[in-house]
């Protein structure tokens, strides 16, 4: 199998709290990988480790055959990312913000307009980013991630703060990216119905541990075998997480 992102027992420990524990992910090239988990499960921490924003306590990962931390800059050249909340220069307009990223990535000027158009921000490009609504900031963050059509996209809750039509628009955009730009998408979201519509593969994280990894069909099969409800992703996800929480509680009592 041709994996573009593989992590090997990736672990992040803070003083007395383990955010990610032995997470081994396998993201296929050209696929959309949905990363699911309740709040505080360790999704963002794992994504941050992949981007070098936080150092792993243990474990390693390779992205497109490159190793972290030696190939950090080479890895970042290939990744468009959007983590947690949008990041922008409040004193600059949307267009100027993207121009800063364009210059760092050494892309042609036209890429800024293309990214603005892709996320529907062209007419607001000259407005100061601090005056954008939450949804517009979210779109600006996405435009920054999509700038230069990177081969890998890491998106953490990209539809947060968007209205229903915005969610629909971004969902369709993300879904079309692998075929349009031949890219791989690692996306996390709380909206399970949304991931169900776009993802090829799923990874379910709970309390820092990877409970499941595989295709949606594999998940359905696994859920049926374990006697869980397998009608939709939400039911399967909730059953899996509840079972894990119950066994954690049991272990803690022992």
């Amino acid at each position: 199998m041709d994996y573009i992102i593989t992590t090997e027992k990736l672990t992040k420990k803070y003083k007395n709290f383990t955010s990610a524990s032995n997470v081994s992910l396998h993201v296929r090239k050209g696929s959309i990988y949905g990363f699911l988990g309740p709040n505080g499960a360790g999704k963002s921490t794992t994504m941050k480790m992949l981007l070098g924003l936080t150092a792993p306590t243990k474990g390693s990962f390779t992205i497109d055959g490159k190793h972290f931390p030696n190939d950090r800059l080479e890895i970042l050249k290939e990744i468009g990312s959007f983590i947690e909340s949008p990041s922008f220069y409040a004193n600059l307009s949307g267009r100027e913000n993207l121009d800063i990223i364009r210059r760092i990535l050494k892309l042609p000027k036209s890429s800024v307009e293309a990214a603005l158009e892709l996320v529907g921000l062209t007419e607001f490009g000259d407005r100061l980013a601090k005056k954008y609504s939450l949804g517009m900031k979210q779109r600006l963050g996405l435009a920054g991630a999509l700038l230069g059509r990177p081969p890998i996209l890491i998106l953490d809750e990209p539809t947060n703060g968007l209205d229903p039509s915005g969610i629909h628009e971004i969902r369709n955009l993300v879904k079309s990216l692998p075929s349009l730009y031949d890219c791989t998408v690692l996306i996390s979201s709380h909206m399970l119905s949304e991931i169900e519509l776009i993802a090829d593969d799923i990874g379910i994280l709970n309390h820092g541990r990877l409970l499941f990894e595989g295709s949606l069909d594999d998940l359905r099969q696994s859920a049926q075998q374990s006697g869980f409800a397998a009608e939709n992703l939400e039911d399967m996800f909730l059953s899996m997480v509840e079972k894990d929480n119950a066994s954690r509680k049991q272990r803690a009592q022992l």
Partner: protein, 241 residues
């Protein structure tokens, strides 16, 4: 070079460039007005005319420069933290120490321009208001370089502090605290106190001679370089979490 161009673009609407230019202009205006109003009193002091020109006006000019540096250093990093922009920079193939160094360079050049404007005013005053034949261009140039070199530790220190704290009030407070403690310690004869960046900057203002003190120059240069290296190291190794 491209990192410097990018940093300059980021400064748009932050006020960093206008603040230090305004400090230069205000310092020059203060020198003109002060000499216009107090010319006779100043020239009757028991000091050489060049010492009067350089030391009697420098106190206020230095305080303006100090606050200009403190405010500009706070603003130059505040814009990185305000919209969480620095997080995006960490996720891009950009050199974070390179960004730090370019910010240092921008502040240094702006301070240099401010000091140049102030010294142009002093040159004009010296040529027109000092007694015939007493104005010495070399002494003025040497004092200008001296005031620039002794200001650099504060600039290096303030940039380091502002790069480490997301809340702008922390570096601003450190700047005000540095100024107050520097004022209290500047007249002390102890050479050890020169480690305090604000004391080094205040030194030329508390002496009555326009002759640069080589010990102060050496300590200032070493301090500037050490603080710059510390800032670059932190930019490289202490990541956003």
């Amino acid at each position: 070079m491209s990192t410097l161009a990018i940093e300059l673009r980021k400064e748009k609407r932050t006020g960093v460039i206008p603040v230090l230019l305004a400090v230069g202009i205000l310092g020059a205006a203060y020198a003109f007005v002060n000499f216009l109003v107090r010319k006779d009193t100043l020239l009757n002091l028991p000091l050489a005319p060049m010492d009067v020109l350089l030391t009697q006006l420098y106190g206020m000019i230095m305080i303006l420069n100090m606050f200009g540096i403190v405010v500009a250093a706070c603003m130059i990093y505040n814009m990185e933290f305000k919209g969480n922009a620095v997080k995006k920079i960490y996720m891009l193939p950009a050199s974070v120490p390179g960004m730090y160094f370019c910010k240092f360079l921008i502040l240094t050049i702006l301070l240099l321009i401010a000091i140049a404007i102030q010294n142009l005013a002093l040159t004009r005053i010296g040529m027109s208001d000092l007694p015939q034949g007493t104005f010495e261009m070399n002494t003025l140039a040497a004092f200008a370089v001296y005031s620039f070199v002794t200001s650099m530790p504060v600039l290096s220190f303030m940039l380091l502090i502002s790069s480490r704290f997301e809340n702008m009030w922390v570096p601003l407070g450190a700047g005000v605290g540095g100024f107050l403690s520097g004022m209290a310690l500047a007249t002390s004869k102890s050479g050890l106190l020169l480690i305090h960046p604000f004391v080094a900057m205040l030194k030329p203002a508390v002496t009555m001679s326009a002759q640069p003190d080589s010990a102060v120059i050496i300590v200032s240069m070493v301090e500037t370089i050490i603080l710059l290296i510390a800032g670059l190291w932190m930019a490289k190794h202490l990541r956003y979490e």
